[in-house]
Amino acid sequence: MSKKHETPLLDELEKGPWPSFVKELKKAAAKKESANDLLGALEQCYKDNRTHWKHGGIVGVRGYGAGVIGRYSDIPEQFPGVAHFHTVRINQTSGFFYTSKALREVCDIWDKYGSGLTNFHGSTGDMILLGTNTESLEPLFAEYSSHGWDLGGSGSAMRTPSCCVGPGRCEWSNIDTLDITYDLTQEFQDEMHRPAFPYKFKIKTSGCAVDCIASIARADLSIIGTWKGDIKIDQAEVQSYAKKGMDINAEIVNMCPTKCMSYDGKELKIDNENCNRCMHCIAKMTKALRPSGERGATLLVGSKAPFVVGALLSWVIVPFMKLEPPYTELKEFIRKMWEWWDEHGKNRERIGELIERKGMRDFLEAVGLDPLPQMVKEPRRDPFYFWKPEELEK
């Protein structure tokens, strides 16, 4: 494809040391008409200081209600190549592990049907195929699915779960994040592909409280690995950190949020009963400290972006659950949540918002959990609260 549009503004973004997305657009534009027009359309946005995309009707593949985001230019006459320019979300692999072979396969199919532009990855986790037209959707899907790739979620559906690298390459993972993500994705294919919820539902899994997939901030269900047991200390390694120049009191002991550590220059001690497993000491002295004992996860519910009630972080609902295949207890918990949410949630009401609206008690009773102090930072302040008839004198 030859150059079609002048892009003096975007050209400014080819300068500088950081890899340039404009260069990528141009690479694609060299091959694809639609990418060429995308470049022009984007230059127009830069000129006008505004977006030139508009909402579109629902598009998708047969039998699915999810996986494709319809998108249309508001200046299609100028940029016919992006008049339709839909996104296809391909469900990524667990932990974003690939082989070159797999990636080539993904690229080849995409070059056949789309703009040749992608996001590796979207912020939910999908491989984002950026820009194709309505007609290409069916054949594209046929090719991908016959090669073993499926669409991710979109709309009021379960969204593509994602996870941190976990046991694949990390010494701190308390759970098999890759397997949990794969297993849940398989289990809930229907919920992912056929939107039937009040709104979107995201699941993200981190192997420990470092939370490298940011699950606590952006997943309706955040699964975070943890342990019940002592932190084992290798005192020789402690000494070797000290020797290498670590100021153990300043960097570790004084930064421990529960102040449950002490160090006298010789021996590091941890009062494990008072440790809240924040991971600071372990992360900063990985050779010296290791959790031990029973492994499992804390389940937290409700985080999301600001609309409508303000941004939420997820709330502790299940302090500890063992997570081993086939993850029956976890799946039952998820299904119970969904059932309650389906029944009570309004259109476009995330589960966190519903819990807030209905009250935590309603939710906990629906999913069959007892109240626990671990669920709250602190008990309520103002002393008025509900009683059920069975809690009262007749």
Binding site: L13, K15, G16, P17, W18, P19, F21, E24, L25, C45, Y46, R50, T51, H55, S94, G95, F96, Y98, S100, K101, C107, W110, D111, L117, N119, S123, L130, P139, S145, S146, H147, G148, S162, R169, E171, D176, L178, D179, Y182, Q189, D190, A209, V210, D211, A214, I216, A217, I224, E251, M255, P257, R277, C278, H280, K284, K287, A305, F307, V308, G310
Partner: protein
């Protein structure tokens, strides 16, 4: 050309086939890791096996050519095994230590940026912007590019007190992690939407539109089969436009970028935190947004100079106090900084303790 037989609900391919032999062997049995440089680390397994990771920057919005090129490189040095990170970087997974140097050499020759590991600025989690979203009040890819050009050394080499997570979202839907990032940009509007009364009845569902407004500014306008918006209540969030395309809100003269600061998601030391507003508005000045870039740099470098080792941006600010943060960075404090949304009350200072 006939199409292959489509399948449905098969989900993604099983992850195991993408794990290299050393990973499969040591799966879940890693012992520790060591950072070897700003972009290279080694993980050592209980078995003694080693796995080297070389991380390179990606602009995230990439062409298939880019993907093919990194695939080529992975084949040459990693038996084809590679991965992406949760912040969109590429990781080459090297089992054979002798390939580590040649890999890095080739990467450098090809112009790749190695870095992002350790106490540095990593890649910016971001969103579609003007490249693909109707809701965008600013561009995301452009902002990321100009910021990372400026902060380049903090990705490749320069050390910071701790990791610094940046994010960009092009509207207050905040696809990404803006609300819990060390430093983040978000595209904002400053005028109420325009109501296209003729279109509303056809393209919008009135009850959802009303419910979408965080401040209850929208009410039905039965005469017009449309809605009314109270100018006094509207704070220009744009959520109604997400729900109802007949309420366009974009305004080139007044849209711009806000900066929020001090969020985190990790549980280390302090609990996960929301980001807080520090610049209510900076103008949209593409292609290189100089005001935004210098504001971010100022914040980052004030942090770099003053925070203690291991302190995240938010932890540093909370230790010194927000009043001190505004003083040290010279950012003006305005009415917009004082919360007037749902939990406003909880942000008012209920103590006689503060710094002058």
């Amino acid at each position: 050309m006939s199409l292959p037989q489509r399948k449905t609900d098969i989900g993604p391919p099983h992850y195991k086939q993408f794990l290299s032999p050393v990973i499969q062997k040591n799966y879940g049995n890693w012992k520790y890791h060591e950072e070897l440089s700003g972009g290279v680390m080694v993980h050592v397994a209980e078995s003694g096996d080693e796995l080297y990771t070389v991380r390179v920057a990606s602009p995230r919005l990439i062409s298939t050519d880019f993907v093919r090129e990194i695939s080529d490189i992975a084949e040459k040095y990693c038996d084809g095994y590679l991965r992406f990170t949760s912040r969109h970087n590429v990781e080459f997974l090297v089992s054979d230590k002798s390939k580590l140097e040649p890999l890095q050499k080739e990467l450098k020759e090809k112009g790749y940026t190695i870095g992002g590991i350790g106490n540095r600025v990593s890649n910016i989690v971001h969103t579609q912007g003007w490249v693909h979203c109707h809701s965008a009040a600013t561009d995301a890819s452009g902002l990321v590019k100009v910021l990372m050009d400026e902060l380049y050394d903090y990705f490749t080499s320069k050390e910071l007190p701790n990791k610094v997570r940046l994010a960009v979202a092009c509207c207050t839907n905040m696809c990404g992690a803006v609300h819990c990032s060390d430093i983040a940009l978000v595209g904002i509007h400053r005028k109420p939407p325009i109501i296209e009364h003729a279109k509303v009845p056809n393209v919008c569902e009135i009850p959802s539109t009303i419910a979408s407004c965080p401040t209850g500014a929208i009410s039905p306008d039965p005469a017009k089969k449309s809605v009314k918006i109270s100018e006094a209540k509207c704070m220009y969030c744009g959520n109604c436009y997400s729900v109802c395309p007949a309420l366009p809100i974009s305004d080139p003269a007044n849209d711009g970028v806000a900066i929020v600061v001090g969020g985190k998601v990790s549980n280390l030391r302090s609990n996960p935190k929301f980001s807080k507003l520090v610049y209510p508005y900076l103008p949209n000045t593409p292609p290189r947004w100089p005001e935004v870039v210098s504001a971010v740099k100022n914040i980052l470098e004030t942090y770099a100079k003053n925070a203690r080792k291991h302190e995240r941006v938010g932890e540093w600010v909370e230790r010194i106090g927000w009043e001190k943060f505004f003083k040290m960075t010279g950012i003006p404090f305005t009415f917009q900084h004082i919360d007037d949304f749902t939990f406003a009350r909880e942000t008012f200072r209920t103590a006689a303790t503060f710094k002058w």
